[in-house]
Symmetry: C2
Subunit: 316 residues, 2 copies
C-alpha cells in the first residue's frame, strides 16, 4: 500500500542551477517541467526569487530571479502541470514586489536557513504564508548543528511558523541511515502539527538510501533531482525515487526520456555526482565549498593533498 | 569502538575484470595490490581460477586464470601484503592442477553459486578447504531466490560446508536496506557457526548503504572495489567503506592515490557505475545481462525502449 500523503518535489532547476549559474534556457526548463508533470511530481522548484539588484542578470540566468514572466514562459499551456515552488533566502528578496499568491505564477515558497537563522526564516516564511502561498522551512546543515540549539529550532518552527512542512537538510551529504532515523525522531518530539521533509546530498552515495530511511520514518516531503543534478555531489535522483514509490500516479518514463535527451548531454558540460573531493568533504562532515573550488583548478585530481588539507581543516 | 572481526575484501580485479575481460597488466594489478595492502585491506581478490581449456587466453587476460606465476609477479616482494583470494566456479577448475595451500600463491578460495547449485558449491569449497585454503561460499541472486529453497541452502551450508564465511550476494543490485536486515536475520536463524559476508551491486546507488546495514547487523566480511569498479553498475566503493570503518588500521590515502593515477584514466576507457539501464534492471530485480548488452549497441541511451522491454520481460 502506498502513502498518498507523500509529496515529491523536483529541485533540479533550483539546486542544479547552482552548478551552471541558473543558465538553463527556457525551452530546456519547459521540457523539464513537462516531463516532471507527466511523471506525477507534485512540486517543481524552478529557482530562487533573488533581487536582481543583488546579483547581475548578465552573470546569472533567469532562475536566479524567477520573474513572473520567465515562469509563465515555462508553464503556460501545460496541462496538469506540477505546482511551482521557488526558494527565498533571508535578506535577498524584494518583498514589495512579491504579488499575492492568486496573482502569482508560483504556488509555494521555501525558505532555507541554518539553525541559527531560524527566527528570520520563520518571519520570512510567515510573510509569504500571509500572501496566500504554501510555505516550507528548510533547516540546513543538520549534520553540523546537533547541539541543543537544534531542539530549540524544532520547537520554535512548530510554535511560531505557519509552514506546512519543515525540511531536514543534509547539506554536507554526511548523514548515514541511522542518523536519519535519529534526526527524524528528534524532530518529531517537537514538531507535531506539520509535515517533515528530507533533502539529501549525494556525496557518499547515500542521498537515495537516506530518503528511503526518511520515508520509513514517515517523512512525507521528498526532494529529488533529475539524474541527481545539484550542487557538488548532487541530490537523490528523481528516477530512483519515482521507481521506488508505489503510488500509481508516478511514472518514471518521461524522466527517462528527459535524461537521455537533455541531462546526459548537460552532464558532459557540467559536473555533479560522485566525485572524490565531494566524497571526502561528505565523509569529513564539511561544507562543500572547498571541494567545489578544488575541482575548478589544476589540483582537481590531487585527491591525497585535498584529503590532507581537509583533515587538517577539521582539526583546526 | 570498532569491530576487529570485520574483514574487508577488495574484489576490484576479480569483479572489475568482468568489465575488461581481466586484461589488466601486471604492473597495474601490482599497484592496486600495494595500495590495498597499505590501506589495510584484508583480502585482495585477484581473479578466477578458470581452466585455460575453457576460455581462450588470447581473448581473456591473466586474471581469468590466475596462474601461480602471474600471482607471484604481482605479490612477490610486497611487505605486509593483503592475503590473496581467488574465485572458483563449479565445473570450471582443473582441480588436479591446484596445489596445496602451503605451496600456493593464494590463501583463500571463494565459490560463487546460485541457491539451486549449493550442493556442488559446498563440495567444491570443501575440496579447497581440505587442501588447506580458507574458503567462502557466495550465494548469488538472493533478491530472486527468496522461497523456502533459500532457508534450505542456509541450513545446508551451515551443516555441510567447512567455509569460514557465507556471503549474501545482491547480484542484481535490487535490495533495499530493510531487505538486508531481513535477509541477515533469516540467514542467522540457520547459520550459527560461520561468519556472514555481504557483496552488493550499485545499480540503485545502494551498495554502500546496504553494506552499512549489513555491518549494523553483525555481518563481518565485506566486499568493496576501488572507485566501485565492477560488472555493470559496479560495487560498494572501497574508499567509502574504508572511510566509514573506524579501525585505525584502515587508511584511505593509498586508495585515493590509486584512483587518481589509475582508475580515473581506466574509467574513461571502460564504463561502470550509475548508468540508467543498470539502474532499471536493479529496480526491476532482473539479471544485468540485458543492460550490459544494450550499452554495447546503438540503443545505449534509448532508456524508454529498454525500460518497456524489461517491464515486459518481467511480466512474461
Amino acid at each position: 500500500m502506498y502513502r498518498e500523503s507523500i509529496k515529491v518535489l523536483d529541485c533540479t532547476i533550483r539546486d542544479g542551477g547552482l552548478v551552471n549559474r541558473h543558465q538553463f534556457d527556457h525551452a530546456f526548463v519547459r521540457r523539464s517541467y513537462i516531463a516532471s508533470s507527466q511523471a506525477g511530481v507534485d512540486y517543481f522548484e524552478i529557482g530562487y526569487i533573488n533581487s536582481p539588484g543583488l546579483f547581475s542578470p548578465s552573470e546569472y540566468g533567469p532562475w536566479k530571479f524567477c520573474s513572473q514572466e520567465d515562469i509563465h514562459r515555462v508553464i503556460d499551456g501545460v496541462e496538469n502541470g506540477a505546482k511551482i515552488s521557488v526558494m527565498a533566502d533571508v535578506g535577498r528578496v524584494e518583498l514589495e514586489n512579491v504579488p499575492t499568491c492568486d496573482k502569482s505564477a508560483y504556488d509555494m515558497v521555501r525558505v532555507a536557513s541554518y539553525v541559527k537563522g531560524v527566527d528570520k526564516a520563520i518571519a520570512l516564511a510567515n510573510h509569504f504564508h500571509d500572501l496566500g502561498y504554501e510555505t516550507c522551512i528548510n533547516l540546513m546543515a543538520l549534520s553540523r548543528d546537533q547541539g541543543p540549539e537544534l531542539d530549540e529550532a524544532f520547537e520554535q518552527v512548530e510554535r511560531e511558523s505557519k509552514a506546512q512542512a519543515i525540511y531536514l537538510v543534509d547539506s554536507f551529504g554526511s548523514l548515514y541511515q541511522e542518523d536519519i532515523e535519529n534526526l527524524v525522531r528528534r524532530a518529531r518530539k517537537h514538531i507535531k502539527t506539520k509535515e517533515l521533509g528530507f533533502h539529501g546530498h549525494n556525496n557518499q552515495q547515500l542521498a537515495y538510501s537516506n530518503t528511503i530511511e526518511a520515508i520509513i520514518h514517515n517523512v512525507n516531503y521528498l526532494d529529488a533531482s533529475v539524474y541527481g543534478m545539484g550542487r557538488a555531489a548532487g541530490n537523490c535522483t528523481l528516477e530512483l525515487l519515482l521507481g521506488f514509490l508505489k503510488n500509481p500516479k508516478f511514472d518514471i518514463r518521461p524522466v527517462l526520456d528527459l535524461i537521455a535527451n537533455d541531462y546526459i548531454p548537460l552532464r558532459k558540460e557540467f559536473e555533479w555526482g560522485y566525485i572524490i573531493p565531494h566524497m571526502i568533504v561528505g565523509q569529513l562532515n564539511l561544507h562543500p565549498q572547498e571541494a567545489i573550488d578544488v575541482r575548478k583548478g589544476d589540483q582537481a585530481e590531487n585527491y591525497r593533498a585535498f584529503y590532507e588539507k581537509m583533515v587538517s581543516a577539521g582539526l583546526d
